[in-house]
């Protein structure tokens, strides 16, 4: 019983103070990715950050998406094929699964939205229908440019 208690407390102590928080990460930030250099080139990795405002280039005909992913310090260009999730837009948190190419572009094969813990009502006068519509319109306009 005492041995079991020591093992359990030890395991919890390790989880809390053992620096596991540095090792177990679901995704790397652009700063961490770039710091790792050639080690992470062309290997499956997850990259997470924010969609840099104004950087989204979406071609609705070829379903081709390019944008800058930023963590506030460094920025990585991401290329992805196919329609992004509904909530994809400027300033949104995103996690991409894919590979960081030699050309410095991250080829994303799976794009996920990382929603924050913040929940707020829309701005005055904005209805849910308008929100969805606006979401798609921004994407369409970006495709034309």
């Amino acid at each position: 019983m005492v041995v079991a208690a020591v093992i359990v407390l030890g395991a919890f102590g390790y989880l809390m103070y053992g620096g596991l928080d540095k090792n177990v990460v679901f995704f790397l930030t652009p700063q961490e990715l770039l710091a790792k250099g050639t080690e992470v080139v062309d290997v499956p990795v997850r990259l997470g950050g924010m969609v840099a405002p104004g950087s989204v280039k979406w071609n609705a005909e070829t379903l081709d998406l390019r944008f800058q992913l930023s963590d506030g310090v460094k920025t990585v260009e991401v290329h992805s094929k196919g329609a992004p999730p509904q909530m994809f837009r400027d300033g949104m948190g995103v996690v991409c699964e894919g590979r960081f190419g030699k050309d410095g572009v991250f080829e994303s094969t799976n794009l996920m939205i990382k929603h924050s813990e913040e929940y707020h009502p829309p701005k005055p006068g904005q209805t849910p229908q308008e929100m969805y519509k606006a979401m798609f319109e921004t994407l369409r306009e970006d495709g034309k440019s």
Partner: protein, 237 residues
Amino acid sequence: MSTSARAGTRARGLWLGVGAFALVAAAQAWAIASSPADRDMAHLQKIMYVHVPAAWNMMIAFFVVAIASLRYLWKGQERDDLLAASAAESGTILTGLTLVLGMIWAKPTWGIWWTWDPRLTSTAVLFFLYVGYLILRAFVDDPDRRAQWSAAVGLLGALNVPIVYMSVRWWRTLHQVQSSPQTLDSSFTVGLRLNAIAMMVVLVFFIRHRYETARMEREAELLQERAALGGRGGING
């Protein structure tokens, strides 16, 4: 327990059940009617009113499992074992509900049904640990051995609860960290708390109901045993 006392307990249990589900219906209706659309996910946010209360209450249920299991190992009383089993069963249902609703929310929000991030993985582990606990109980016939083994597994499973809760803070996950009144607009908080309380009443009802059933099952088992041994007071006695 006398027959009339049992009938009284059952009637009280029935009213608790009716009240619990009426409270859930009222809390849901109020939360859905009173809260605005979220600025990112519009009315998809409403899933929060079941997903989050289910997650909170599953933690309460497994906390009850831990306390009852510890008490059983200490005092060896059968009622603690039956209470742990009832709480574990209710907690498993709530964990399943949390996972399923989380997935339904994740598909339109994150763009995926599932991913192996620390929060999702630890919750899935919690779910399967307690499914294992319930299977273990069904497979062991000897009541003392069943109680001892399941108390050990029940405790082990409950140790996973703080890991599930802290996973979003200890590790970098896709799942967001816990919202607080600072990050959750006040128009959502009252509905969330109301539903958490309603869900807790449902949890109390579930645990109580399962406990009463378990007591009756045990009494029937004992009667059968006595009858098989040819003693008096059995079914054929």
